[in-house]
């Protein structure tokens, strides 16, 4: 593979023209969104990746995708600030405008902003990293692909569902109806917790922009400039990490985080119980039964190991008595047992196993 096949000079010339015209357009209508534009570089990169990715092994593929995503994020970041460049007398106003756009973007960026809605979207998507990490983790622990609950409609549905859930179960399937109502309640709790979590990150994003603005003002005072996409990306990451570290260390965040995890666990627990009921109905082993067996087997094995150790100690004692030598404490023998003799080495009753609550 050579670089010509990847990005020809034509592509790069097109890209340069694209940015020239981008700047010109923004100077004419400062702050105007250019969301429908797609940078030629980005198109070329996607085109190249589509062609080459089938040959890439799984781990490398994922790795490359991360680098491409981040590359796009940091060039988009530079693009966002391009209108400010060029020594324009209104440059600070333009820069402020860009920062304001970022803040506006954060206000509604989490939990369902459409892909490609604004030119800022991909850059803002960077701030979805913590949120996205949660989605991936939730997905990996879910029986269905993706965090399928994420995009479930909830605002308009709330009232309807509340009414539905308030209706008592009736008749032969009363218990089953109750179980489904509980499932929906837990689902709503999870949705609420997820919204609160996303809302927290939206506010964090706004604060990060504020931090970036302050940082730039400091730069002006010091007479320094940012002259590369990479530098502006690194500065942005530093601002984000600084704000993030301050905010997630608070009690308020601990509560939001706790609610999210607890709500997801409560939902998963109800789902597991319902799956168990279905399995039981088909005469198949349930998770609850398997857990009971696991606990019993574990206690049995623990007891066996304890007995084996004590037997070994006793053997050593007997051998010592037979040979007339003083009994040396066998390694691993409980000291108390050796001092007190075999009676003390008698197995203790197994510790109570914590019952699995439902």
């Amino acid at each position: 593979m050579n670089e010509d096949s990847f990005f020809s000079n034509d592509w790069m010339e097109t890209q340069r023209k694209y940015w020239d015209s981008w700047i010109a357009m923004n100077r004419k209508a400062m702050g105007q969104e250019g969301g429908s534009h797609t940078a030629p570089w980005e198109s070329a990169l996607d085109h190249w990746w589509t062609a080459i990715s089938p040959a890439a092994p799984g781990a490398s593929k994922q790795f490359m995708e991360r680098m491409m995503d981040q590359g796009k994020a940091f060039f988009k970041m530079a693009e966002t600030f391009l209108p400010s460049a060029g020594g324009d007398t209104d440059a600070w106003s333009a820069l402020s405008k860009s920062l304001e756009e970022m803040q506006k973007g954060f206000a509604g960026s989490f939990g369902g902003a459409g892909e490609g809605q604004t030119a800022l979207h991909r850059m803002l998507a960077f701030w979805e990293l913590p949120y996205d990490n949660w989605q991936r983790m939730a997905s990996s622990m879910s029986p269905v692909p993706g965090d399928f609950l994420r995009n479930m409609p909830h605002d308009g549905m709330q009232e309807h569902v509340d009414r539905l859930l308030s209706a008592p179960g009736l008749g032969y399937t009363r218990e089953e109806q109750g179980a489904y109502q509980d499932l929906m309640r837990r689902n709503l709790d999870y949705q609420k917790a997820l919204q609160e979590y996303a809302g927290f990150y939206s506010k964090l994003g706004v604060k990060a922009v504020e931090r970036m603005r302050a940082y730039m003002q400091d730069l002006i005072k010091s007479g320094k400039t940012i002259d590369s996409a990479r530098a502006i990306y690194d500065d942005w990451v530093n601002c984000c990490e600084a704000v993030y570290a301050e905010e997630v260390g608070t009690t308020a965040y601990a509560e939001i985080h706790g609610k999210l995890v607890n709500a997801q666990m409560a939902l998963k627990q109800r789902m597991a119980i319902m799956v168990d009921e279905q399995l039981g109905g088909m005469n198949m082993p349930t998770r609850s039964e398997i857990r009971t067996l696991q606990e019993r087997v574990h206690e049995g094995r623990r007891e066996n190991k304890r007995l084996a150790r004590e037997l070994k100690a006793l053997k050593a004692q007997v051998e010592a008595l037979v040979s007339g030598q003083p009994a040396a404490p066998a390694v691993g023998t409980p000291r108390a047992a050796l001092i007190a003799g075999p009676a003390a080495a008698a197995p203790k009753p197994p510790a109570a196993v914590k019952p699995v609550s439902k």
Binding site: G71, T250, Y253, M265
Partner: protein, 355 residues
């Protein structure tokens, strides 16, 4: 004057460089061999359930010390971090100083291991490994090196079985789990640990990965990959990066009952400071730990900040207590070039002076 001066031609050039590196990097990634983990020769000497106790081969020309050293790693992540590549290996460094090194690989717990408790790990598996080594060498006590959570295990184990531990080394080991700025501890405070463990059984490695990435999400899940582009053209560096990447995401599930007790007793109740930790039939009192103790911590550690480790001095009963502060991070203390030159030789010397 405005603080941003990015010209289109310069930006285009920057993009050109980035994409060229990506293209070259793709070649290196496609050509990368299978990523190996653990480079020093070793052999299994004892197995129990999923646990394997390894003994590392003594390098030619080195006379091993009479008292062997057992490395106790954490349950989270995998122990090959200590032997990740030829020129970045804590184990290799320890072998060079004459240590006869053993290492416990706890394995990957599955559903059948859900009921394993801290008592099973410490007074069961760990104790039997210590017994095995003591018997094999005809010694009443050995040296132990505990790492991170494995350090906490080692402290507790020694406090329960002081007669079997001659010298103890702890690396990046917390004793105070609620120091200011401890994000992990903060996040766990409002979590219903019982609900989580009862629901999940074992705690998935993915959940731990998410938690650790969340400590610095922009740097660890974003910026790191941009920085990586700069070294993609170097095939060796790509391989080293992939090796580290493999380790970061190679997180075994945690046995549910152990996770329950560890999270509640340490992160929620700060049990080594406040007391009340009970392992099997033992109430943990670190004052029972009286052997020489070397505590190695990292000054830029975001997981176990120095303030979380330093109180160890006042908690233990050792009169021979030494601290070694390394100017690096939680991982750098094992893999950085500086650590190979400073940390490992210092541990080896400290042990040799006392063995």
């Amino acid at each position: 004057m405005i603080p941003i001066d990015i010209r289109p031609d310069k930006l285009t050039q920057e993009m050109m460089d980035y994409t060229r590196k990506l293209g070259k990097g793709m070649e290196n990634l496609l050509n990368a061999d299978k990523i190996d983990a653990g480079v020093s020769p070793k052999h299994a000497v004892y197995k129990e359930d999923k646990l394997v106790l390894y003994r590392y081969d003594t390098p030619e020309g080195v006379t091993p010390q009479p008292v062997p050293l057992l490395i106790v790693y954490a349950l989270v992540n995998r122990p090959y971090m200590t032997d990740i590549q030829e020129d970045r290996s804590t184990i290799k460094g320890l072998l060079k100083t004459g240590q006869d090194v053993y290492l416990i690989d706890w394995g990957y717990p599955d559903g059948a291991d859900r009921c394993l408790t801290l008592d099973d790990y410490l007074n069961g598996y760990l104790d039997r490994c210590v017994d095995y080594i003591c018997e094999a060498h005809g010694l009443p006590a050995i040296n132990i090196l505990g790492i991170c959570q494995g350090g906490v295990f080692s402290l507790m184990y020694t406090s329960m079985h002081q007669d079997k531990v001659k010298n103890l080394v702890t690396m990046v080991t917390p004793v105070d789990f609620q120091t200011p700025g401890n994000l992990l501890s903060n996040w766990v405070q409002h979590m219903d640990i019982d609900l989580a463990v009862d629901t999940m059984g074992n705690v998935p490695g993915e959940l731990l990965n998410w938690t650790f990435l969340s400590l610095k999400p922009f740097a660890l899940a974003g910026q790191k990959y941009v920085n990586m582009v700069d070294v993609l053209e170097d095939a060796d560096k790509v391989k080293n990066f992939l090796r580290m990447e493999k380790w970061i995401f190679d997180s075994p599930d945690q046995a549910g009952e152990t996770f329950r007790q560890f999270s509640k007793d340490f992160y929620q109740k700060n049990g080594l400071i406040n007391g009340g930790v009970v392992i099997g039939e033992h109430e943990i009192n670190l004052k029972n730990l009286t052997c020489p103790l070397l505590n190695v911590y990292a000054l830029q550690d975001h997981l176990v900040p120095p303030a979380a480790s330093r109180p160890m001095k006042d908690l233990v009963g050792s009169t021979d207590y030494t601290e070694n502060a390394f100017p690096g991070g939680h991982i750098g203390i094992y893999v950085s070039g500086k650590a190979q030159k400073e940390v490992t030789p210092a541990i080896g010397k400290w042990l040799n002076d006392r063995s």
